[in-house]
Amino acid sequence: MIEIRVHGRGGQGSVTLAELLAEAAYYSGQQAQAFPNFGVERRGAPVTAYTRIDNKFIRLRSQVYNPDYVIVQDVTLLTDPKILGDLKKGSVVLINSSKPLDNLKVPQGVRVKAINASGLALEVIGKPIINTIFLGAFAGLSGLIKLSAIEKAIKERFEGDIAKKNILAAKRGFEIINQN
């Protein structure tokens, strides 16, 4: 089972990202589960959401504590030491940052990937909507999700131009993650 934890701020679409990850994994032939860390949601407040992906139906209902992947949509959230504190050997951290994060303190054996999601989103979507960049980046990095499945998941949720731009954003994320 692969466990993913998404950290963001209210308004960044963290819950949507967790759900899109689950839906796209499902359309790639896997079983998946997504749920938010039910907080009192408001714009700007820290938000956490979870996704689990497995080859059989997922029964486990607890929150995710030692994730295989962590997605951090806002780098300023890292002032909270808990976010990267429970990572295990082999975990991957994907962080929205325009600068490399070589000096970031993480447990041994954890890989950090900085991705300029905000910049890419402004380029592709014209707005700082970054969650679909990460959706594509996760797909490119993990190999668990097909691009065609991402397209299906996005089209189910959004229409017209918004769907098109988000699919493009996911493709950009998919390409860029394996280039750096």
């Binding site: 759900e19 689950a22 839906e23 499902y26 359309y27 079983q31 998946a32 589960q33 997504a34 749920f35 938010p36 039910f38 009192v40 139906f57 997922i58 029964r59 486990l60 209902r61 607890s62 929150q63 504590y65």
Partner: protein, 378 residues
């Protein structure tokens, strides 16, 4: 059709496919998505029920009483404080023998105010005369809704289907949504034998003197007990048509277990994962799912686990000052008929997370403790 979708959406689509005449509701977290989805289905022309948004839960259930009395098939959903606000009306719905079906997205009760999941809300209506069902995952919860209408309309007893608020309502996972055509095969249109009709006037919920009240209450008691047999039969029929199993009690884990964990709702999934891991290292542990709190499957449970050494009951609700609701039910059911040591663990109140490790640790603690009830928060 198999889909991946939010639990609330899955329930809304199932309820729509069941074919409801009247929905009346008032939004409250974490149930809101269900009634929002039902309202949207109606607004988009994808459903033909009457949808009445009331000014309170008290009114929502009152509207359903009126609608059900005319022979309509009715539905509402609520949570927590909303359920408490409709309590007076809930007793009337059962007393008037109206086959209303309601979803309760289980949530903690104030105070202190808390919007997260536990199962304290529903146990407040335990003695209201309703049938009370609990779903483990979103598939089972949807299936229980279909079953609920069958039982309600056969027994003329209202049914509440419980699912853990947020933990299931807000979780996106696979559900096979039963199609309307298939549901019709299982659940024919509701034909009330007695209903409000201007051509044949009747009174519902009339004033009753000491000369009749007791017999009417006993009749509801007897019928509620008898509903267990109807339910067992209907669960078998359900399997034939939908291919999925429903049961009053279900055992999972080592056949020769000396320790058995008992619970209701979504925590069962986490317990099953813990049991698998314990069985793998040779620990003789099993788990029992209870799907119905009323009627209570006392005989079935006794037959299933009465001979075990140790029973750990996990409750997300508590009769304050005494013990967990489920552990109390099991203790009285087993009195004089089982030598099992029964320990109740109160867990997950107000949204406190329950992990596999906590379950494993609590199994160990329960063996050692002399307490009847323990609170486990980490």
């Amino acid at each position: 059709m198999k889909k991946i979708l939010e639990g609330s959406r899955a329930i809304a689509e199932t309820v729509r496919n069941i074919g409801i005449d009247v929905i009346s509701a008032y939004p409250i977290t974490p149930q809101t998505h269900i009634v929002e989805d039902l309202a949207k289905l109606k607004a988009d022309g994808e459903a033909d029920y009457e949808y009445i948004r009331t000014e309170s839960e008290f009114a929502a259930m009152s509207v359903l009483i009126g609608a059900a009395a005319t022979g309509a098939r009715t539905y509402t959903a609520t949570s927590s404080q909303g359920l408490l606000l409709m309590t007076e009306v809930l007793f009337n719905a059962a007393g008037m023998r109206l086959p209303i079906v309601m979803t309760d997205a289980n949530r903690a009760i104030s105070g202190p105010i808390n919007i997260w999941n536990d199962q304290q809300d529903a146990v407040t209506m335990r003695d209201a005369g309703w049938i009370m069902l609990y779903g483990e995952d979103n598939q089972e919860t949807c299936d229980l809704h279909i079953l609920a209408y069958k039982i309600a309309e056969k027994c003329l007893i209202p049914v509440v289907v419980n699912l853990d608020g947020f933990v299931l309502t807000h979780t996106v996972e696979q559900v096979d949504i039963a199609e309307a055509k298939l549901i019709k095969k299982y659940l024919p249109a509701f034909k009330a034998t007695e209903k409000l009709d201007v051509k044949n006037p009747l009174t519902f919920g009339a004033f009753v003197t000491p000369g009749q009240y007791m017999e009417i209450r006993q009749e509801l008691h007897d019928d509620l007990r008898a509903s267990k047999k109807v339910m067992a039969r209907e669960m078998l029929d359900f399997k034939k048509i939908f291919g999925r199993k429903l049961s009053l009690v279900e055992y999972y884990g080592a056949k020769d277990a000396d320790t058995v964990v008992v619970a209701m709702g979504s925590v069962l999934g986490t317990i099953k994962e813990a049991v698998d891991e314990l069985n793998k290292v040779g620990k003789k542990v099993g788990v029992v799912k209870i799907s119905s709190l009323r009627p209570f499957p006392a005989e079935e449970l006794l037959k299933l686990i009465g001979s075990k050494k140790q029973i750990l009951v996990i409750d997300k609700s508590v009769s304050l000052g005494e013990e967990g609701i489920l552990s109390g039910e099991i203790r009285r059911s087993f009195y004089g008929q089982s030598k099992a040591k029964i320990v109740g663990a109160i867990m997950g109140l107000g949204g406190r997370d329950i992990t596999k490790e906590m379950i494993k640790q609590t199994i160990v603690t329960a063996k050692k403790t002399n307490e009847q009830t323990i609170f486990v928060g980490k």
